[in-house]
């Protein structure tokens, strides 16, 4: 069986005033059916660009090379008409800001129904009924009234529920959730995560969960990819990654997450230095300038992501 998504040697570059900006550099990954993969990394690490590429949604001026296959079919270079048959139905994505993801001048019911009219060939009245049922599944109360409302009339949490309902309408094989709860309160975040968990159980879809918050991902993902400066630097099962991180970046990142239990700290643990800025010249290992284990080799030879399919690390001197 084909993996749901397979990415090989993907590069995404943009022209930048200081030269070329490498948003994604040589990323390869597989996502199997029904798998939940978490993607963590700081802002600018390329997590969103990688999955926008998988959706065929990169802007026209992006220079892309490599291969991305969804259910066996190449995404890169595919015509929009071909992509549109799967985008929004079998391959869906929800974003951080549900307000800008929804069309402001269309009623919620219209936006939801449109998906089924376009992709499933339903009539508007059938689509409307199905949309209402889906809103109930994402636990929106008073569905009849909500279908009549415009996005601005809903709270942030409600809007994200609507986005989630929309992304689930055609029973997707893969849902990509890009920081779905970053803009939301911790309580609403817990509600949305719970819905994602339930949706995964009901539909058997694969789920990609992009977040800079390891806590959010740890509760749901089977496997975690860690990105730094456009590269995938570690890939491991969630428990392995949390218990025995192998890349120094992963280890340092874990130390920085403040905890709700344990002793109170007088100072916060920190990661020295800054993440690379756009256009900044990178060393062979981009983490070398901030890495406690860096040696000369890290500055001249790029570490490749090596190891098994669910336990790999891109580091010359991984932790054991």
């Amino acid at each position: 069986m084909d993996p749901t998504l397979s990415v090989d040697e993907l590069n995404v570059r943009f022209a930048h005033r200081t030269g070329t900006l490498e948003a994604v550099a040589g990323a390869s990954l597989r996502i199997e059916p029904k798998e939940c993969v978490g993607v963590v990394g700081e802002s600018g690490s390329g997590k969103t660009q990688l999955f926008l590429a998988a959706m065929g949604l990169l802007p026209g001026h992006a220079k892309v090379s490599g291969s991305i296959r969804f259910a066996g079919n190449e995404v890169l270079g595919a015509k929009a008409a071909v992509l549109n048959r799967v985008r929004g139905s079998k391959l869906t994505m929800i974003f951080q800001d549900p307000m800008t993801s929804l069309t402001p001048h269309l009623r919620v019911g219209t936006q939801l129904s449109e998906v089924l009219v376009c992709h499933a060939g339903l009539s508007w009245s059938e689509a409307r009924a199905a949309a209402g049922r889906m809103l109930e599944r994402v636990r929106i109360p008073d569905v009849r009234r909500r279908l009549q409302q415009y996005p601005y009339e809903l709270s942030g949490g409600m809007r994200q529920r609507v986005m989630l309902a929309m992304s689930l309408l055609c029973k997707p094989e893969l849902l990509i959730a890009d920081e779905p709860t970053t803009a939301l309160d911790v309580t609403v975040q817990a509600q949305i995560m719970e819905l994602l968990r339930a949706a995964r159980g009901e539909t058997g879809m694969a789920l990609v969960l992009i977040s800079h918050d390891l806590g959010v991902i740890a509760g749901l993902a089977d496997r975690i990819l860690v990105m730094y400066a456009g590269r995938i630097v570690e890939n491991a099962a969630v428990t392995e990654l949390l218990r025995r991180p192998r890349h120094p970046y992963t280890a340092e990142l874990l130390k920085c997450v403040p905890s709700l239990s344990g002793p109170l700290l007088a100072r916060m643990p920190t990661l020295a230095g800054q993440p690379p800025q756009p256009g900044e010249a990178l060393q062979a290992c981009p983490f070398a300038p901030r890495c406690p284990r860096a040696a000369d080799r890290c500055r001249v030879e790029r570490p490749a992501l090596a190891g098994a399919a669910n336990a790999s690390v891109a580091c010359h001197f991984p932790l054991s």
């Binding site: 309580t187 609403v188 817990a190 949390l242 218990r243 109170l264 920190t270 990661l271 800054q274």
Partner: protein, 332 residues
Amino acid sequence: MNAALLQVRNLRVEFGGQTAVRDVNFDLFSAETVGLVGESGAGKSTLARALLRLLRAAHGSVELSGVDLLKGPAQGVRAQRRNLQIVFQDPLASLNPRMRVGDAIGEPLLIFEPELSAAARRRKVAAILERVGLSADMASRYPHEFSGGQCQRIGIARAAVLRPKLLVCDEAVSSLDVSIQGQIINLLLDLQQEMGMAMLFISHNLAVVRHLSHRVLVMYLGRLVEVASSETLFAAPVHPYTRALLAAVPRIPPLAALPGRPPLAEGSLLAEGSPLAEESPLAGLMARGCAFRDRCPYALPLCASSDPPLLEIGAGRLVACHRSHETLNPLS
């Protein structure tokens, strides 16, 4: 204990008849860090802005070293502004894009210490830039040339250059990556120690608040529902809202709790039947009674008819709940 630096009494803020902050009382002491937590819409930022008189309060008083900031014309309060500074969430949006960062940091000096010569002002700006971990030669650059973390350092430099008595941080680290967040928090802690300033630290990140704060105020729909030392609050929250809020935080399991293959992907982040499984109602809808009662699993008829007062149940420990004296079963 010394007299409080800031005394907030019966502070009320209304927007078009809706009460956003309802009769809030608390004290803040010099060199103390107080965390303020709650969901969006709880009134945290509104409260902060009312303290600084960036918003008009409907009622109440805010005394800084004995001077009521809410009384009299705004002009009269201006002199006190040097003692009260604020750092906002979005570091880039809070800097004027057309102003060199040295000028932005120097402007408070220009206003409050006009006797300083231009050279002396430049020296102060250079010193504070270096103090916040930037270099003095960055004074001639514009905000867009800096990263988010650096912009927040600039925002802090601008707020700290007058050595305020109180620094309000309104979600000051919320938009920063976790690796940068720690650096900024440590900078704030260092500055606090050097200058002895008090901090009101507003954040929805409960874990950050826990490590940073001496005391924590929990706010729900415009009211304070629990006040306790950070240690006590996080170890043994009393108010049902505080308990539910803490239970909703996603956590990375401690390493000790990871033997072999624990059932991480099972179980629920938000237990079925958690009072927070539904959305928060809007502020102002409940004129009477406990604002949390509709979401509270322990609510009694009494909670609908009478407002629970914020009462002291232990040393420095205040709770606004009719059942705070009972031992309530843990939330499932």
